[in-house]
Each structure stands twice: as structure tokens, then as C-alpha cells.
């Protein structure tokens, strides 16, 4: 009898915890969206920010966020996937592997501000990339690399050994087995991980504060020559991203509609994170189905 009552109580407590979590999460999401969605309009999304007048938008910031994200992904995905493959397939248990693993963990759990400071020191000043898209992307690479490494390693480890044996037993080289059999099979889970990590990159601010800068030149969206200083594609121009914008507007914005802009930007950010998640799920499902042939 006694153990049954304990059981009831304990399980209820767990359910209460989960309910509390759900409540916190849902009310937060709701709060951001409810407060922010009313300020989102086509105008808001397609107008540049105004230095001090009301009615500014977030066009440049939104573009910058995506641009920094894309550059970061271009830098991290190939390296991260290779690193993950190393750990999953080539690393022999030993000191070196353990050290590399520690490095991955170190990179993954560095405070973002430390990464920002490092980026400022090395990319901005030492290499002279200035406050720029490129410096920002390099700093974000530091964060994102370990995430991709882990995702890849997990993806590979989740594959059954059978497939690998199948490949090797057919006289395929190890690398070829990885390339033609294991990587495609692990692809869905890697992709899901990459898209989920995109959410974090999209929302990072502290590190970008010190590396990508707090401003954006007057972008000319008609000029796609990457070497032009006002081109949206220029890698070496400063780029305030959306989440940095939220921070800076909230900190020192003198436009009358500071609150509206901050709320709207937050809602846009959250909506994009939601979209990334949805994409991850759907793509994962579709690709999984394709691979399993159902």
C-alpha cells in the first residue's frame, strides 16, 4: 500500500514538473509572439533600420543574420563533418583521441563572450578582418564546429555496424565505404542536427557584438558584387545581426518605437527558430523515408 501511495505522489510530482516546464515554455513563446507579431509587417521586414526616427525596419539585420549564418555553415559543415567522421571512424582509442574529444567539448562549452573576445583579438585585430561578416562567421565557427562534429559522430555511431561490414566485405576502401554508404545513411540525422544548430547560430549575440559589429553600411541590394563596400555580399563589411540589433536597440536606441522594434525583432527571431525546427523535422522525415524506401 505504502509503496503505491509513494508511487502516486512521485509520479504526480514528475507530471507537475513537466507541466511547469510546458507552461513556462508555452507562455514564453506565446508572450514573445503575441507581443511581437503585431509589429511585424511587410514594411518592418523590408525597410532598413532608422538611426533615430520611428518606423525603421530590420531588412539589413535580417539579411545579415542569414548571411552570417550561411557563411558560418559553409565554414563549419565540411570541417565539422570531417571531424565527426574522424572521431567515429578513424580515431583509435588513446591519448590523442581523448585530447581531440576534450577539445571538442572545450569548444562546445566556451562562454560565447570568451569566443567574442578571442574573435576580436584574433580575427578583428590580428588578422585585420575588422568588424565584419567574416570575423563574425569565424567566431561562430568556433561554436558551431563542435556541434556539427558531435552531430556527425552521433549520426555515424547510430548506424549499425552491419552496413559498414557490408561495404568493407565487398572490397570497398574504408573511405569509400564512408563516402558512399555511411555518410548517405547518416545524412538525415546530420542534416537535422545542422538545421537545429542553425537556430543557435541565428540567435547568437554576445560573440557577434565583438566581431561582426553593431552597425551595417547602407546596403545596396542592387549591387551584388562582393567586393563593393555596400554590397550585401561583401564579406568584409560590418554586419549587425538581428539578435545583436535587439540588444543594441534595447540598450541605446533613441528611436521612439524602441519597444516595438525589439518586440518585433524578437518575434521574427523566434519565428525563424521555429521554422528551422520545422524544416529539420520535415526534411529529416522526407529523407529518412527516401532512404528507407517507404
Amino acid at each position: 500500500m505504502n509503496s503505491k501511495i509513494t508511487n502516486r505522489i512521485a509520479l504526480s510530482v514528475i507530471i507537475v514538473c513537466a507541466a511547469a516546464m510546458a507552461a513556462i515554455l508555452i507562455s514564453m513563446l506565446g508572450y514573445i509572439l503575441v507581443r511581437g507579431v503585431s509589429s511585424i509587417s511587410w514594411h518592418f521586414l523590408t525597410t532598413s533600420a532608422s538611426p533615430f526616427l520611428a518606423g525603421g525596419g530590420i531588412k539589413d539585420q535580417l539579411w545579415n543574420s542569414f548571411y552570417v549564418l550561411i557563411i558560418t555553415m559553409i565554414l563549419t559543415v565540411p570541417i565539422g563533418v570531417c571531424g565527426g567522421i574522424y572521431l567515429a571512424e578513424y580515431a583509435k582509442p588513446g591519448r590523442l583521441t581523448s585530447f581531440i574529444r576534450t577539445c571538442v567539448e572545450v569548444l562546445a562549452s566556451l562562454p560565447s563572450i570568451v569566443v567574442g573576445m578571442f574573435g576580436m583579438l584574433v580575427f578583428v585585430n590580428y588578422f585585420g578582418f575588422k568588424y565584419s561578416v567574416f570575423s563574425g562567421a569565424l567566431a561562430l565557427t568556433v561554436f558551431n564546429l563542435p556541434v556539427i562534429v558531435r552531430v556527425t559522430e552521433d549520426g555515424f555511431n547510430a548506424l549499425s555496424l552491419h552496413q559498414k561490414e557490408g561495404g568493407l566485405a565487398l572490397g570497398l576502401t574504408h573511405w569509400h565505404t564512408i563516402k558512399t554508404i555511411l555518410l548517405p545513411a547518416a545524412f538525415p540525422s546530420i542534416l537535422t542536427g545542422v538545421i537545429l544548430s542553425a537556430g543557435r547560430v541565428f540567435g547568437e549575440s554576445a560573440a557577434l557584438l565583438f566581431t561582426a559589429g553593431l552597425s551595417t553600411p547602407d546596403l545596396d541590394f542592387g549591387n551584388w558584387n562582393p567586393s563593393a563596400p555596400n554590397s550585401p555580399l561583401n564579406l568584409f563589411r560590418s554586419a549587425e545581426t538581428l539578435s545583436v540589433h535587439i540588444w543594441s536597440v534595447n540598450t541605446g536606441g533613441i528611436m521612439p518605437d524602441v519597444q516595438t522594434i525589439a518586440n518585433g525583432s524578437a518575434a521574427v527571431l523566434v519565428i525563424f527558430v521555429l521554422l528551422f525546427n520545422l524544416c529539420a523535422r520535415m526534411l529529416g522525415k522526407v529523407i529518412n523515408q527516401k532512404f528507407s524506401g517507404k
Binding site: G167, L168, L170, L172, T173, H176, F291, S292, G293
Partner: protein, 267 residues
């Protein structure tokens, strides 16, 4: 067993066949675990050799050493000589990739690649450098016909191999192993994950394949060994207890433990 229903009709070893692979003093270790102890064994060309023995006796370990699949296990270590075509398979300098093209392997769990049926057959060929579309297509048809799968799948070669049933998958894996025209095929309990009907199809297939290939099969089903193998090797606790023509080994075992095992006193 009260009845003797097993017939030895397939084990028609009338004359000794030439030796394809010769195993001499092979010892295999996993770290400190001495898994296979001092095994000497001839594998005859174009015949089926069955490896039997209780669980954990080292059958799989031994089999996987023949095409060096055990290289994948970092702790595994191997001593001795396995002669094949004048080379020692255990030579560390050996080109294992090439070796595995000549000594194919089929596993307990069917492991088709999550790709289309035809790609499963073509992948090894492509890797071996075959580019010609026609050659690839012909080879696909040829291999699938050899395992009797052609008629069942010819209309859906582009469908994913994972959509096949377990038995079909296993035959596909055998077909895949045949694509490279190996000399030897190793099979590790290829039927134990299958239903009886699929199993017997594969047994028939093996009997046919032995006309062109040397086959080594691990099985825990003694009836299966009795039905299809020309030679049988009985392993026990890492040692090769007895080896001989299947009929002799089953009807007139030399060792008490062989007799105990095949009569089901343990295992």
C-alpha cells in the same frame, strides 16, 4: 531424437578436392581473450565447409579472419598462417581491399545498403572501376538471376533494397557478394534470422553456387550442416575439435564432445 530424417544426399564428396585455403596454427586473440586456439584446417575448392559449435566457440571470429574483417576490431590480434594463392592472408602488408574482393562475405543479419536494389549490386562494381552502363546492367541481371531473385524484383530494381523481405534481402546480399566474382564466399549464419521457407531457398542456392565457388558457412543448425556441407569443422571453446567429411563427422565422430554436441547434450 527418435527418428533419423536427415539424409546426406547432398554431401557427395567422392574424391578429395584440391585445397584452396590452408589454415595453419592460427591463433586469434581479443586483448587477453584467446578466442581461437591453434587451428589447422584445409578448405577445399568448390565445396561447402560448415563450421559448427556452441555459441562463443570462435566460429565467427575464425570466419572473419579469413577475409580480414577482424581488422575492424582494434583489440583483435591474429597469429599463424592462412595460405591462399601463395600468399599469407594474415600478412599485415596484404592489400585487404583486394583480398575482400576475392573472398566475399555474407552476414547473419541481411545488410543491404539503403539504396536501390540495382545500386546494391552495382556499387562494388563501380568501385572496382566498371563504368560501362551496359556492363553494370548485365551484371545486375546476372547476379540476381544466380540467386533466383531476378523474377521477383525485375520490375522494381529502382525501389529501395530495404523494402524487400528478410529472405530476399539476404539473397540480395549474396548476389552483391557474387558481383565481383569472388573465389570464396564466407557466410556467417546466413539463415538464422530468416523464416523456414527463406532458409531452405538459401540452402538450395548454396548447393548450386558451390559448383563455381568455394563456400565456408557458419551455422548453429546441425541439420543444416548435415544437409548442405561437404566438410564440417566442429569448434569448441576456441579449439577445432574435429574436422572431416560431413557424413563421417555426423555418423561416426571421433571425439566424445563432438558426439555430445551433435546429439544435443549441450549447447
Amino acid at each position: 531424437m527418435e527418428k533419423n530424417i536427415v539424409s546426406f544426399t547432398n554431401n557427395t564428396v567422392t574424391k578429395e578436392l584440391p585445397i584452396q585455403i590452408n589454415v595453419e596454427n592460427v591463433n586469434i586473440f581479443y586483448g587477453d581473450n584467446h578466442a581461437v586456439k591453434d587451428v589447422n584446417l584445409p578448405i577445399h575448392e568448390k565445396s561447402i565447409t560448415a563450421l559448427i559449435g556452441p555459441s562463443g566457440c570462435g566460429k565467427s571470429t575464425f570466419l572473419r579472419t579469413v577475409n580480414r574483417m577482424n581488422d575492424l576490431i582494434p583489440s583483435a590480434r591474429c597469429e599463424g598462417t592462412i595460405s591462399y594463392k601463395d600468399v599469407n592472408i594474415l600478412n599485415p602488408k596484404l592489400d585487404v581491399v583486394q583480398l575482400r574482393k576475392e573472398i566475399g562475405m555474407v552476414f547473419q543479419q541481411p545488410n543491404p545498403f539503403p539504396k536501390s536494389i540495382s545500386e546494391n549490386i552495382q556499387l562494388p562494381l563501380r568501385f572496382a572501376g566498371v563504368r560501362n552502363k551496359k556492363t553494370l546492367k548485365d551484371a545486375t541481371e546476372d547476379c540476381l538471376k544466380q540467386v533466383g531473385l531476378w523474377d521477383e524484383v525485375k520490375d522494381r530494381l529502382d525501389r529501395s533494397a530495404t523494402s524487400l523481405s528478410g529472405g530476399q534481402q539476404q539473397r540480395l546480399c549474396i548476389a552483391r557478394a557474387l558481383a565481383l566474382k569472388p573465389d570464396v564466399i564466407l557466410l556467417d549464419e546466413p539463415t538464422s534470422a530468416l523464416d523456414p521457407v527463406s532458409s531452405s531457398k538459401i540452402e538450395e542456392l548454396l548447393l548450386e553456387l558451390k559448383n563455381s565457388y568455394t563456400i565456408i558457412i557458419v551455422t548453429h543448425n546441425m541439420q543444416q550442416a548435415a544437409r548442405i556441407a561437404d566438410y564440417t569443422a566442429f569448434f569448441y571453446q576456441g579449439e577445432l575439435i574435429e574436422f572431416g567429411q560431413t557424413r563421417t563427422l555426423f555418423t561416426n565422430p571421433e571425439k566424445q564432445s563432438t558426439s555430445d554436441y551433435i546429439s544435443g547434450r549441450f549447447g
